[in-house]
Symmetry: C2
Subunit: 476 residues, 2 copies
């Protein structure tokens, strides 16, 4: 029998419900996912939870590993527990995706994931693992260096490779290695995605990673992870869907924002349509060509009804469907135009269409508490819609589609201020796109198109050089 | 048996429904009025309709009266039909109130009401009378002079009195008299409200009136109208309520705006609260003291629930009431603040509160078609709420309260940018306020406080020198 509250076994039982209301009540706001987690994934999550409990902050093993790190000594023997520390970096969408990737990497390498709290990780998310926190204690030795860690740091994996300071003998391994997987990373950093380097990293007790990418697709191209990934995700394009729902439970503050908004504005609609508008343009906006693109896409794909500019239909029919459009955008202009259109004119179908936009923050303000709470609430609200339209390139939209289990219509990036034709395209899968994948054949030691190696890792719809996981049977 | 569709007999049967969808379906959007029209009012309306049919535009009687007007001849005998022409003047709220007053005056004096179309009367309203239009034909002889008619026009009643050109013999009566009842009118114009002058006007076939006021309260102080008014309105404070519902049927365009908005945003709420914000201040706004006043009023009067700034309640309870707040204002700031407050914080009661504002036109644009359609739609939507809060001095709010049969809470006008204490006060009646009444005792020929002469005409809550009709039993 499917356990809705635990998302079919994805979630562990026994958490304190009051401390994190979202964990066990999210299912009340969603349809049951069409994608069931595999029993192998479930068992691996449970064993990860045991590992985390045994190795998490302030356990004996943690303290021991910390001692070793502090002493700076090279490693003499195997440690009890190995760790991967995720540095809080970049916009919230990027963080959620990179953290999910890093959790998968932790699963694949039997590491314990610890999360740098940054300014607001604890304010935004509940603890995902029972008993022990996933938050890196604030007295972690290297914590003050997180901001300055970069490609040129002495312990940076790529840098060490470049300078040939890596020796394959375990004797000379440093007590920690910094992994730089930020979008601007170099060829040496990208060797992280080679089997050889993975085996080198294997016994380094502390990995510290900074990344703003969803690098899961390239993990699928590392041969040593192949079997495990196939077992974890028999349905391949569900990685973020499952791991995202497993990891990211909105904190009570954010859950309040989500549930109040949902109940006030969305719950009573017959259908909910999400439109995520994120325009990467140095000019201010709103732009007419973007509005035209949204209208053209939603009309062409029949996501929203056409309006009758002649106003010939007077009364909405008695049992007309009510559609709620949830718009997220930094600007209010697009949703105002849409709202006005459906107010000023009747639809051809007799449906009535309400348009809602929770916030319009005008510009990205990564460091403001309420700003990020709202950003998170809005990604989550988008994930509760029935039909989703997203903007190309945006991780904000990827989070929504993944959590929602939605294969969105992607609004192509516009060029020269004109509406692309077609204006949008249905995504192949609900998986996020890896924006900065390596193009390297580790064995042949030469460049290669990594988007055509296997059927389940393809180039993205919205970024031609990006990679995303798709299902073998996905509608391509 | 109460006939809902005809508003208890207020409306005549037999109109073409498609030409004016609002007329016979407004009852679907309203609770049944607590105030039934008197059978005498109903019979007078039916006989007015007969009169209008007999005397309306392009009838024989109309053409005859027109001939006389054109010839400019002094009147020799009684004419078939006498007319009062209402000039379209001022903001939409003012127009609706002055037109209702003028219709009542027409009823009291057995005149036929004809309505100057101005820029948009025909675009905004349906025809209220069967068979014959209430619109003054565009070829009406004096129509080009309407704009320039003023206190000093030769045929202006007050001016004639001032210059002593009025002679009580019927022989010397002009073929038309212009009545200037605009807020800036003078003492001689105000003699309109004296019995003597009414009997002088009696046989003038054409009265042309320009007014921006709801002058009904002063009609109640004219002795010769007393009996008729008592019979028409046994419940005195229902004059605008009944006449407004009788006269003002939104045109199909406007009805589309009303019904679509209502069904999309308001219909599913458990309770609807209207807040009409109209600030007469030369500075731009929004103002913090106004926002504070609104919050203070709605909280103190328990119209809206308080929020818990500590966020202690996490989940809205399952069967929490949904309240919809309809805000109208030229600016978007007030409703945004309110919407954010109820999004960011839970209510103490567990209720969820949605906040809606159809338009924010930024400034008054009396001449734009869509602007006035929206203004009319918004007044009407406010009238469909269950609880109404209005701004002092605004005829926009008076229209809403009168049509809705709502006794509003009036937000007092602020002074020195501080919140008044108390911030608002429940209105004595749903009647509009006459902003510029005369203070003259026609018999004693001296100044007098007209707000204390009879129990049912009192000074207004929001304008100390204004007059409004109240019921003898009204809660004072
Ligand atoms: N509330 C809100 N914030 C947004 C929106 N779009 C962008 N932002 C802000 O800008 C940041 C964008 O960074 P990110 O989440 O990584 O998404 P991306 O830049 O679209 O890939 C978000 O975290 C928000 O802080 C939006 O629609 N709503
Ligand atoms: N749509 C809209 N228009 C408004 C609002 N407040 C004022 N206006 C405009 O300003 C005019 C105000 O004039 P009037 O209706 O006579 O009301 P008053 O000035 O408040 O007595 C309206 O007719 C509208 O054109 C509002 O809340 N919504």
């Amino acid at each position: 029998r499917y356990n809705g509250k635990l998302l079919g076994g994805l979630l562990a039982d026994g958490f304190d419900e009051a401390a994190c209301a979202s964990r066990y009540s999210s299912f009340l706001y969603r349809k049951i996912s069409l994608h069931k987690p595999s029993s192998y994934l479930i068992s691996r999550l449970r064993s990860y939870e045991d590992l985390h409990k045994r190795c998490g902050p302030n356990t004996q093993s943690y303290n021991k590993a910390l001692e070793q790190l502090k002493s700076g000594k090279k490693i003499m023997g195997l440690t009890d527990c190995n760790y991967i520390v995720w540095i809080s970096f970049s916009g919230l969408g990027n963080r959620i995706l990179s953290l999910a990737s890093t959790f998968l990497y932790a699963l694949l390498t039997n590491r314990v994931l610890l999360v740098d709290q940054g300014k607001d990780m604890a304010d935004l998310f509940c603890e995902p693992f029972p008993d022990k926190s996933w938050l890196l204690p604030r007295d972690f030795p290297l914590i003050d260096q997180f901001d300055s860690l970069n490609q040129n740091s002495p312990n940076c994996h790529g840098n060490m490779l470049k300078n040939n300071v890596i020796n394959s003998s375990a004797m000379s391994k440093p007590s920690y290695i910094y992994l730089h997987l930020v979008h601007d990373y170099g060829d040496h950093d990208k060797l992280f995605f080679c089997d050889g380097d993975q085996s080198f990293l294997e016994n380094v007790p502390w990995l510290i990673m900074k990344t703003d990418n969803y690098y899961v697709p390239s993990l699928f191209l590392i041969p040593s992870f192949e079997t495990e990934l196939r077992n974890l995700f028999p349905e391949k394009a569900t990685v973020f869907h499952h791991l995202g729902r497993y990891l990211f439970h909105p904190s009570n503050h954010v859950w309040g924002l989500i549930t109040r908004y949902y109940r006030t504005y969305l719950a009573k609609a017959d259908e909910r349509i999400g439109i995520q508008i994120r325009i990467f343009d140095s000019r201010r906006g709103p732009f007419k060509h973007v509005m035209d693109q949204i209208l053209s896409c939603t009309l062409k794909e029949k996501l929203l009804p056409a309006v009758d500019m002649q106003d010939s239909v007077v009364n909405p029919s008695e049992n007309a469907k009510l559609k709620a459009v949830l718009v997220t955008s930094l600007l209010s202009g697009y949703s105002e135009d849409l709202r006005n259109m459906y107010w000023e004119h009747p639809t051809m179908t007799g449906e009535v269409v309400g348009v809602y936009q929770p916030s319009h923050e005008e510009f990205q303000q990564t460091e403001k508490q309420m700003h990020n709470r709202k950003a998170w609430a809005e990604m989550y609200l988008l994930s509760l819609t029935d039909v989703l339209v997203t903007s190309a390139w945006s991780t904000f939209g990827y989070v929504a589609q993944g959590l929602g289990g939605l294969r969105p219509w992607i609004l192509y990036k516009t060029e020269n201020d004109t509406v692309p034709d077609p204006p949008c395209h249905r995504a192949m899968s609900m998986e996020p796109c890896f924006h900065a994948p390596p193009f390297y054949d580790c064995k042949a030691k030469k460049g290669i198109d990594t988007g055509i190696l296997v059927p389940h890792v393809r180039h993205c719809e919205d970024i031609s050089w990006g990679l995303k996981v798709v299902d073998d049977h996905d509608d391509l």
